[in-house]
Amino acid sequence: MNNTLKRGLKIGAALIATITAATALTGCAKETEPTPTEQSITIYSGRSEDLIAPLLEQFTDETGIQIEVRYAGSAELAAQILEEGSNVQADVFFSQDAGALGALTEAGVFKTLSSDITDLVEAKYRATDNTWVGVSGRSRVFSYNPDLVAAADIPQSVFDLADSAWKGKIGIAPSNASFQSFVTAMRVIEGEAATTAWLTALKENAVIYEKNGQILEAIEAGEISAGLINHYYWYERAAEVGEENMKSKMAWFEAGDVGNLVNVAGAGVLTEKPEAATFVKWLLGQTAQTFFVEKTAEYSLIGLPQRTGLPALASIESPEIDLSALAPLAETLELIRNAGLTD
């Protein structure tokens, strides 16, 4: 018995030693290592590192507050925050879309933001209970190849795309979150029957893609005439291939059309650390807002002028809708699937 115990202890010790060794071995190279004396906050970012890292550096330069940041998909990070339970590691959640923020609001994990932050942004771009705030806007657009679509033929409403004249000419990405939020908005505003009819017509007319970027590529190549994407994909591609090499153009539907839905990327605060609120407020300051306009071609939500070539945010007149209501997408997915757009 004694022997067994000894052996058990030996094995246990060996086990701990190997795990420690492995951990030491993976004393992994990190990009930044804040010293413990400095103030520091942890951000979970659903926005990609390429876009956001330079912005965060500026924040540290200006405020002296150090930042540790985790990049992953917004939805995965939301799930992770929920599973962390009472041991939440993030001070701020910076999400790519309002849906993930709405899910965390519903779970009650956000702290309420003070009015000096929320007052900076129009009511329709933040949570009704002030638990999160939008920091930059993006619009759904009608992207088209001017060789294939004459200016006069640009549709007035997204519902015009149900016309058989568009058969085989229009690209959509029905499995993509941005398309699904837009369909949710359509469902909320226009009703289930109208949405189903539109989706069924699109099943006939549309060419299906996985991502917005692929739609744009196909329009550029002339494989399809037009497509429904988010406006900043045009600028993303322009940055990759050069603006002068861009063939496609963007157009908006008539004012108030659901095809012009403006969604936001936003942030919420998870801990009482004052630096966390400071960060969210800083995102709505001049530096960050200018950055979004210049680097990602998004809309400023505090009224800075947009990139040249884009219509003003106020002139788009996106439909009135509570953006956090775009979160429960299960019904939308069902509609899209029933129309046969996703297999």
């Binding site: 492995a22 190279a29 995965e76 041991n87 990759e240």
Partner: protein, 503 residues
């Protein structure tokens, strides 16, 4: 130690249980018993069977050709057969989709997953062929059996257990894969699980679906021994065997293997290289090296830890075979088809409640790798460890060696190549792993796979290409090592004979 391994691998099941319990059994049933769930289930099952069948066909053919025949260039073919293991299936899927517009749906997913998992069968069958006795085949030939009948009645029964074991790995991989099927737009169960998180933020619905994957795994585990057939006893002393001369079939066989290599290796590689030239975005060299260093550390640590636990479990199952230990062994496989994101979330859940100190440390990442890939290690090690004659243990014990010492001085040297192969297989899988690494890594630590994810998520393909190419190159090292170890078992067998004679 084996018990620790089993308990760790049960963490995802505990988590699923908690989530389902919270959800309530009625809601679980309404969530899972929808027509849509059955459609997805059918999609997953059909894809899994198709991939497994194709893997058996292709992998076994490659193994037979490179081990048993005298076809010219067989050592090159051997490397080509193992190499696709180095390419993550999501990278291959991206590469194919970029090269061939309209490449999507069932057959696309089937092709990419077959490319990625046929090497599992190839490696297992190669090892079995190296060990099995070619003399039986020669006798069958001399008794007038045709080539096909020799294969059907002699060779196939000998390699069947290995082929099925390899196909099991490829089946479970296919069940749990998310990257390839999502890029190629084929709706499977895993995709529905991810969608539950992504679109509805519904952890409990996702958990119900994941529980069904566990159920399918149980079915496969129960069916496996039956599919394997009986182990054909072989003469453990392997003599130098003569290789089969293929005659007119030689060039055809070589052409077939080369065409497959072209599809599985050349096409995606060309596509990756093309990425380098189509964009303006560029990868940062400093970041590239940091990511490389981190990837290699994780891969080494994962390989070493998996090898240690793999030896413990294998020795237990092989040397102390009982109903209990066999059950223990099967338990480790239970979560092998559960997608990475569910395993990761379960560790977030469990560690934050039990050992918050571990959360977001590299140790937890290694534990995740252990859960995800221990079955791969065991699959590679068990047979080599079983090969070490039990008589030697007894001799060692009679000479007063402790059990640990016996393990160190008898079993490990004999099963060495198999153990190394298991570790290499795990290292390889660690290099390619994405969802768990992304969620559990220490904040700020990036690997080649996470950088690749980061670049492709903003469609900077040109910046992503160096990471993808580097990942494939680095993963090529364990892939090559694995191949070598498996094929060297031949010499190892000679070592055993030497040891036996010495004793």
């Amino acid at each position: 130690m084996a018990v620790v391994a089993v308990l760790t691998s049960l963490a995802p099941l505990v988590y699923l249980g908690v989530r389902l319990n919270e959800f309530g059994i009625e809601k679980v049933l309404t969530q899972t018993l929808r027509a849509r769930s059955f459609e997805l289930l059918a999609n997953s099952v059909v894809l899994t069977l198709a991939v497994a069948a194709a893997s058996i066909l292709i992998g076994s053919f490659q193994a037979w050709l490179t081990v048993r025949t005298s076809v010219r260039g067989r050592s090159v073919f051997a490397i080509l057969a193992a190499l696709p293991l180095a390419m993550p299936s999501y990278v291959a899927a991206y590469a194919f989709a970029a090269l061939l517009p309209g490449f999507k749906g069932f057959w696309a997913a089937w092709l990419v997953l077959t490319i990625g998992t046929a090497p599992y069968v190839y490696l297992a069958v190669s090892a079995a062929l190296v060990r099995s006795d070619a003399a039986t085949e020669e006798v069958a030939r001399s008794l007038g059996l045709g080539r096909w009948n020799v294969f059907r009645r002699v060779t196939w029964p000998a390699i069947r257990p290995a082929a099925v074991a390899g196909a099991m790995l490829s089946a479970l991989y296919t069940l749990s894969d998310f990257g390839a099927v999502s890029i190629l737009s084929f709706d499977t169960f895993t995709r529905a699980i991810y969608n539950a998180y992504r679109s509805s933020f519904d952890r409990s619905a996702a958990a119900s679906l994941a529980a069904i994957l566990v159920a399918i795994t149980i079915v496969l585990l129960v069916a496996e021994p039956w599919l394997r057939g009986r182990l054909v006893p072989t003469d453990s002393r392997v003599r130098k065997t003569s290789h089969i001369h293929l005659g007119w079939f030689g060039p055809i066989a070589a052409a077939l293997v080369l065409i497959w290599a072209g599809i599985s290796i050349a096409l995606p590689t060309i596509s990756l290289i093309r990425w380098n030239f189509i964009g303006l975005s560029q990868a940062d060299t400093g970041e590239l090296f940091r990511a490389l260093a981190n990837s290699i550390s994780y891969a080494l640590a994962g390989g070493v830890i998996a090898a240690i636990f793999g030896i413990a479990v294998s020795v237990l199952v092989v040397r102390y075979r009982s109903k209990a230990t066999v059950l223990l062994d099967k338990t480790i496989w239970l979560t092998h088809a559960v997608p990475g994101i569910v395993v990761a979330l379960s560790l977030v859940f469990v560690s934050n409640r039990l050992v918050p100190q571990l959360y977001q440390t590299s140790a937890l990442v290694i534990i995740a790798y252990l859960i995800l890939f221990l079955p791969n290690a065991i699959a590679a090690m068990q047979t080599p460890i079983a090969q070490a004659p039990k008589a030697l243990d007894e001799v060692a014990a009679s000479l007063g060696a402790s059990r640990l010492e016996t393990l160190k001085r008898v079993v490990l040297p004999i099963a060495g190549p198999g153990i190394l192969a298991g570790a290499a297989l795990v290292s390889l899988s660690v290099l390619k792993e994405l969802p768990a690494t992304l969620m559990l890594r220490e904040t700020g630590v990036e690997t080649l796979a996470t950088r690749l994810w980061n670049e492709t998520s903003v469609s900077s393909f040109a910046a992503a290409a160096p990471y993808a190419l580097l990942l494939v190159l680095v993963a090529g090292i364990p892939a090559w090592l694995l191949n070598r170890q498996v094929r060297q078992s031949l010499y190892n067998q000679a070592d055993i004979d030497r040891i036996l004679e010495r004793e």
